[in-house]
């Protein structure tokens, strides 16, 4: 399966299992979503469970919070992560605080799905990676899959989770892994182990990282599209890197991170999002605080630049093989 099919399958399975699950969002109903993630679901489950919404992100999340307070498990979609901002008050002030401020009387078990990330010539408003806005919010879990297998397993776990979860889906890798070499022909998930998606129900636990590749020369912390870019660059350079796909940013799998950095003594953090106050800053700080005496070099970050996401200069912006390669060279120079 590709990632869209895996997401569609997860939604289908969960809707079958739990009659309280409803899907709402722009174009998700009859049409099946602009990326086809909800294709066929309205036909199968009816318009009362899968329905189109007005173009109003505040309303989509606000209504979902109210539905969750009633006892449903809504899975709202925000068409692009770039358009999640009108719903921030509902997500940050409401969904994230519901359990805390009511001492558990009301909860917000909603799963917000939203395509994110660049690499598709999406320009400023179809490429952003706003995960750090949410990792900074107490009460929200942030999940980012890097393979179809994890997309299905993590989405199922997110829907079953009793806390609000935001699942950012890297749209660059919906149809195939992307290694950062933009001038090479694109690949599909066929033949990639992450594209082998079992039928039926399974879950990938939240808060657990995945070791993509074991190694001893350095630890790479990444998620989403950047997993595949990192894998390709390090393989090409012949570096015995340990690559960790964080999968859940909050709550973070700190044990796996610590264990790896203590083993390798070096750490490289990679994300597409802009650098300043990005999630990488949190990762670097945690590694510095908790693995300081094991570190043999400064922790490096490879990120997007601190600019809005450009259109024509996308491949100058994107943290691709050259930027990663330089950072690896610096880390390994001694």
């Amino acid at each position: 399966m590709n990632m869209i099919e895996a997401i569609n399958d997860a939604l289908d399975i969960m809707m079958e299992r739990d009659p309280d699950i409803v899907i709402l969002g722009e174009d998700v109903g009859y049409f099946g979503g602009v990326f086809r993630a909800t294709a066929g679901l309205q036909k199968k489950f009816g318009r009362n469970r899968v329905f189109d919404s007005p173009i109003n992100e505040c309303g989509i999340i606000g209504a979902a919070v109210g539905m969750a307070a009633y006892g449903l498990r809504p899975v709202p979609e925000i068409q692009f992560a770039d358009y999640i901002y009108p719903s921030l008050d509902q997500l940050i002030s409401e969904a994230a605080r519901m359990r805390y401020r009511s001492a558990g009387q009301f909860t917000a078990p909603i799963t917000v799905r939203s395509p994110f990330g660049g690499g598709i010539f999406g320009g400023q408003t179809h490429s952003q990676s706003p995960e750090a806005l949410f990792t900074h919010v107490a009460g929200i879990k942030t999940v980012i899959p890097a393979t179809p297998y994890d997309a299905k397993g993590l989405l199922i776990a997110a829907i079953e989770d009793n806390d609000p979860v935001i699942v950012f889906e890297p749209k660059r890798i919906y149809n195939g892994p992307f290694d950062g070499y933009y001038d090479k022909p694109s690949r599909t998930w066929k033949g990639h182990p992450g594209g082998l998606v079992p039928e039926g129900y399974y879950r990938t636990p939240l808060g657990k990282a995945r070791i993509v590749r074991e190694g001893s020369a350095l630890t790479v912390l990444a998620y989403g599209t950047m997993i595949h870019v990192a894998e390709a660059v390090l393989a090409e350079k012949g570096v015995d890197a340990e690559i960790i796909d964080l999968r859940t940013l909050v709550p973070l799998d700190i044990e796996t991170v610590e264990k790896s950095v203590e083993k390798t003594g070096k750490c490289l953090v990679i994300h597409e999002a802009t650098r300043t106050s990005g999630f990488g800053a949190e990762l670097v700080t945690l590694v510095q605080e908790r693995c300081f005496y094991h570190l043999e070099a400064p922790v490096e970050r490879v990120t997007g630049f601190d600019t809005p996401y450009p259109h024509s200069l996308e491949w100058a912006y994107f943290p691709g093989p050259v930027r990663i390669g330089e950072a690896v060279d610096r880390l390994l120079k001694d």
């Binding site: 409803v22 009362n48 469970r49 919404s53 007005p54 109003n56 505040c58 309303g59 606000g62 209504a63 979902a64 919070v65 109210g66 539905m67 969750a68 307070a69 009633y70 006892g71 449903l72 809504p74 009108p86 008050d89 509902q90 002030s93 409401e94 605080r97 519901m98 359990r99 805390y100 401020r101 009511s102 001492a103 558990g104 009387q105 009301f106 909860t107 107490a138 009460g139 879990k141 989770d161 009793n162 806390d163 808060g207 909050v250 709550p251 973070l252 700190i254």
Partner: protein, 433 residues
Amino acid sequence: MAENTARKGGNLPPLELYVPEPRYRPGDLVDYSHLPVPPAGQLSRPDENCPASDTWPMTTDMIRVLDEEDQAVGPWNPGLDPETLRRMLRNMALTRAFDDRMYRGQRQGKTSFYMKCTGEEAISVAHAQALAQDDMVFPTYRQQGVLISRGYPLVEMVNQIYSNRGDALKGRQLPIMYSSRDYGFFTISGNLATQFPQAVGWAMASAIKGDTRIASAFVGEGSSAEGDFHAAMTFAAVYNAPVVLNVVNNQWAISSFSGFAGAERTTFAARAVGYGIAGLRVDGNDALAVYAASQWAVDRARANQGPTLIEHFTYRAEGHSTSDDPSAYRSAQEREEWPLGDPIMRLKKHLIALGEWSEEQQDAMDRELVEHVKAATKEAEKNGVLGHGLHHPFHTMFEDVFEELPWHLEEQAAQAIRERQIKWPEWKEEGDV
């Protein structure tokens, strides 16, 4: 290329920005003769199942039931029995007595903050009377009358206000941000208008499940300017959600008069029709009119005929909160000159006119309510007042952020408890060794 008609030297008048200004500022003499107060009983009452557009006359006029002779008149007279009227009167008086006591409690330093609803008691009490007990209310911070009407224990309210060990919300919330799932009272948020689309979502869920319960939401006229208001109205209309959307127009949003929410151009009720939602504008100081309009909207929602927006026209008689001094921005005369009077006085006089109540009974009830509130306060004080110990244990600060504590919150909880042992070495909690 088109010529720039606004260029210097053109003969068009210069554009002017209009900034609304209230009629009366501190020291001004107040005259409300500009404000139309239609006679009671004159507006017709359409069928609850009418098209939204049929309610247009009800959105620009004002539904009033109690007339100058304290009689209930016209097609909107709900014909309530005296016992129900006395219950509403009592709940309104209890709400006021509670407000007065808690205001004093804040001044005495027993808590940090309080907000009264003086002058607006009819709205929450009569509206609650029209709802079923298990309909979910999405209130603002000025609908304490709903909790009181539903019989929520006063001691629980005071515990919350004092943030003490008995506080059901574990001292996490600012005073008056109550929450009670059992009493159908949704957790109050400090962020204005967010509960409006949530109520619509709750109502949609009830409809999805084929339930018979409806939702009711409140905002002030000030926060009807928030984007959430538009989201809620759009969603409510699109999905024909079984919800009653209430705008309490008390003329003031802290220091800003209702003109800054658009009141100079149209009524708040009139906005409903543009969304295809039924609208009603009601004298918010007339408990019978509030009840009648609420009942109309509740019946409409319950019959799958969709949402209603009710504008409750009233006056915020006191300051915005204990942190506010209204004499700094409005005339002190406004309250006494308010042409719609006081809701408690009006209902009392109506009951007396019916021969179902007397001044003596009112005085006795008021005395009893003062004692009732005082007793609840004393009871709650046994659980502590703000800043005087008896708070919830430190670890509870970290609970309920998530269903389970992740490692980083466990670490931070351990830190807070270490700090506690240094800052307050005499402090003992369950589990301390």
